[in-house]
């Protein structure tokens, strides 16, 4: 959804302004929580027709 994209452009991203030196590793517990939240977020993707979605992506090659 377009709205989804708007969210990432405005969402509160805790690490967005940090330099690479300052980015700390995600602790294991936090990582598991983050992953759970992602799985909740993408449930809508799982409701669509996967075959149709995948099959509709046919390019002609490139480069």
């Amino acid at each position: 959804m377009p709205q989804e994209f708007e969210q990432i452009r405005t969402a509160d991203q805790p690490q967005e302004n940090e330099e690479s030196t300052a980015v700390a590793g995600v602790r294991t517990g936090d990582a598991a929580d983050a992953l759970d939240a992602v799985l909740d977020d993408i449930e809508s993707v799982l409701e669509t027709n996967a075959e149709e979605y995948v099959g509709s992506f046919v390019q002609k090659g490139g480069e």
């Binding site: 959804m1 377009p2 989804e4 994209f5 969210q7 990432i8 452009r9 405005t10 969402a11 991203q13 805790p14 690490q15 967005e16 302004n17 940090e18 330099e19 690479s20 030196t21 980015v23 590793g25 995600v26 294991t28 936090d30 990582a31 983050a34 992953l35 759970d36 939240a37 992602v38 799985l39 977020d41 993408i42 809508s44 993707v45 799982l46 669509t48 996967a50 075959e51 149709e52 979605y53 995948v54 099959g55 509709s56 992506f57 046919v58 390019q59 002609k60 090659g61 490139g62 480069e63």
Partner: protein, 487 residues
Amino acid sequence: MPQLRDSGNHSTAPLDGRTRSEVDAFTRIFGIETEYGVSVTGADAPCNSGQTAMMMFQPIVARSRSTNTYIENGSRLYLDVGSHPEYATAEARDPMDALALDMAGELVMHDLAMDAQRRLRASHGKRTMVHVFKNNADSAGHSFGCHENYLVRRFVPLTVIEHELLPFLITRQIFTGAGRVGERGFQVTQRADFLDEAVSSATTRSRPMVNTRDEPHADPDAFRRLHVIIGDSNRSQWATMMKLATTHLVLCVIEQAGREGRESGFARLAFVDPGAANHAVSRDVSGVGATFDMADGGVISGGAVAMQERYLVAVERFVEDHPEVVASLPRTDVHDVIRQWRTVLETFGSGDADVLADRVDWICKRRLFDALQARTGRLSTSRLEQLDMDYHDVANGTVYASLCRRGGMRTMLGPDAADHALRTPPSDTRAVLRGRFVREAKARGARYSCDWTRLTLMAPQHSEMVLLDPFDFEESERFRRMLGSLD
């Protein structure tokens, strides 16, 4: 236009002082060219990739009468062979600038897709969704690329680059691979199944790893442009930064050896069969399991990590001996890059690579698929392929956006930096001149065209200028006169 010179390694004419000092330095020009794939779902009537791409480019064609344009940040936006919307970043002196420009490209594609989607919904039904994939393969086995460009000193022969850099490019994929799920399981890279020849001069028909088409877009007596084909399109910002920064450092080692007329030491890392090594790396999710037959008759075990370790040690030693390399990147901390490179290799070595899921695309995907199947039970290949594709969809994708929002994927630059890079060229390359030219010509409704090394004004009056030096960002008298003629 710069002349095409594929074979020469030595200058045919003495270089001027400025060019000489550029050749003597460790500075680099970086660029990333990304081909995007397109599809439409939910439509009442079929809409193939050609129609979708044209729909996206309609506003551009209406404005500039061409599907080949340069935008205000100095980057090139065009429709490539095979109906691929393509975006090539403006010249960047630093990996972080290239990253910001690359993110701006994602925004360009997103906005073009949303506009096309709005118009398609009028003709194809209100459930129509346009997808723009920053990935490297479609469902029918067509492959397309994310190419990196590095300006390299001409005194390094292409054969040297082929032999000394290619093993690095193949094995860096343990941290730059975007990962792909398919009928035959999960692999580290998007492209390994499609790339065969090590080096070739043609890209559309064959699938080489390094391209030798030599259009330096700079003084051909001083530079060549290394065109790296073997690389995945990354969503991870960290991976984009790291692939440019580590490749730059390895190139510095090779160039310095060339400068001093000695061997870099990397020649002994050549694989007997680069294609086979590439497949092995892509299939070895441990990073340490593959064994390589070397061109010198030896065998290296320990997987991609063992190969990367050799390159890293050489780079560490090199930076110690040549501390001035640190100044080659204006905004990226070379010591930090080296530290992160080492961390990655040590992490693979300890068998705990999953902790890299917050920065390495393929590990991020694989961990997500594993977690999802632990929750829902085994999923079909199609479902996993869909999630894989959704991860790369910069228009309507939910997976990657969610990962960033929830802290499952780290980001180095925020949306503001991408927005800024959409409007602003890097200030320290000739892109700043191209960007200003495009902005002012557009604002005044002038007819104009650009190339990497050329600005052309067709009306109100014809004028043209060549910008041969990508490092030269200063406005010349001629440039000012050209802009002045717009009034």
